[in-house]
Amino acid sequence: MRLDLGAIAKAGTSKANQTGSWRNFKPIFHQEKCIGCSLCKIYCPEGCVTMVEKKKYTVDYTYCKGCGICAEECSSSDIEMVMEEK
């Protein structure tokens, strides 16, 4: 690894870390009872929940660490955490 003057790192390059491999439990977005409150998106510490369309959200498993905040805070209990087998 080379250290340039000022030790400057390029913006947003942490995307190379696929933190999804940390996951033990996986959130399943059923997209059935969703009322579109977007709490899953707002509360995600990774910022990896996105809105596909109104009342339909999805998660990027490349980065999701499986903390389960989205499932806990979902106002219509539409997200389920399931044990992941690798």
Partner: protein, 305 residues
């Protein structure tokens, strides 16, 4: 002299300004708080960060999660570095191009960085200082800080035969900031994201030094379930242990009221391993009563009821 643009690339303007792939623990309250602060502030900002979890998990060299100009210097001088940036922008006549946000954890703000912060507040720099309060030095392995609450168990304030955990009260850091006579001081919690957004946006419209302290649960250090991060943060506010308020020019102008009948502090304490020793013996009831008194004092002081 060649001028470079101060703003982040426009393609990032609509996306999250804290990129995924950062190495914060699962359910990290601080990562969430930083994401919310950046989202509210927008891309026309320059941020600094003190050493701590935030700096470590976002800048694993040679990578960076920041989509805005970011500088990490040392543990104690986030506020001083931000002061320099603000002064430089002024000297170049470019102060309208970007806002400066200084960040630090509770240790980097209330203990190690206090004198640099005090200097920044005293000199009246146009900076928003954000303190992510996770109530101990989490990055180095959960040592107590000035913002660790009473009777909390950390590795340097262990529970045992002669100790109930941290024997000192949480430092009134917003009060210290307000005592500098600055225009805006506020506290917030990750449980209320809209409130964080409003406070950051409001703070950035005010000229002069601003101080914002955000309660950010740490599942690792608080020994709580990562899934319950928001619930824990919410209970801290509802019990009155973490009062949410705004102080403008020395006067408390807005508070978040607690529900009546009030939520007992046990509700908040029992879901965290760092307070588990308070539920092991009969004598501990007295200690819980002392914590309840702290909550009651907060409710009275800020008129939260």
């Amino acid at each position: 002299m060649a001028t470079t643009t101060l703003t982040a690339p426009t393609e990032h303007a609509c996306g999250p300004l804290l990129a995924a792939g950062h190495t914060a623990c699962t359910g990290c309250g601080e990562a969430l708080a930083a994401k919310l602060v950046l989202g509210a502030a927008g891309s026309n900002i320059i941020v600094t960060s003190a050493t701590g979890c935030l700096e470590v998990f976002t800048t694993r060299f040679p990578q960076s999660s920041w989509e805005v100009p970011f500088i990490h210097s040392l543990f104690e001088n986030s506020a001083a570095v931000a002061s320099g940036i603000e002064a430089a922008l002024k000297a170049l006549g470019r102060q309208n191009e970007a806002k400066v946000i200084a960040q630090g954890g509770d240790g980097g703000t209330a203990d190690i960085g206090l004198q640099a912060l005090s200097g920044m507040l005293e000199r009246g720099h146009d900076i928003l200082y954000v303190c992510y309060d996770n109530e101990a030095y989490m990055n180095t392995g959960v040592q107590r800080s000035g913002l660790t609450p009473f009777d909390c168990m950390t590795t340097t304030s262990p529970y045992g035969e002669y100790s109930w955990g941290n024997k000192h009260n949480k430092k009134d850091m917003p009060g210290i900031a307000a005592a500098h006579g600055i225009p805006y001081v506020a506290t917030a919690s990750v449980a209320f994201p809209k409130d964080i957004e409003n406070k950051v946006k409001k703070a950035l419209t005010i000229t002069g030094p601003k101080y914002l302290q955000i309660h950010s649960p740490c599942p690792l250090g608080w020994r709580s379930n990562p899934q319950l991060t928001i619930k824990v943060a919410k209970l801290a506010v509802e019990t009155g242990l973490y009062p949410i308020f705004e102080i403008e020019n020395g006067k408390v102008t807005k508070v978040r009221k607690v529900k009546t009948p009030k939520t007992p502090v046990e509700e908040y304490l029992k879901i965290q391993g760092r307070f588990a020793h308070l539920f092991k013996s009969a004598e501990a009831k007295e200690e819980i009563q002392k914590i309840q008194e702290i909550a009651d004092r907060n409710i009275e002081k800020y008129g939260l009821a």
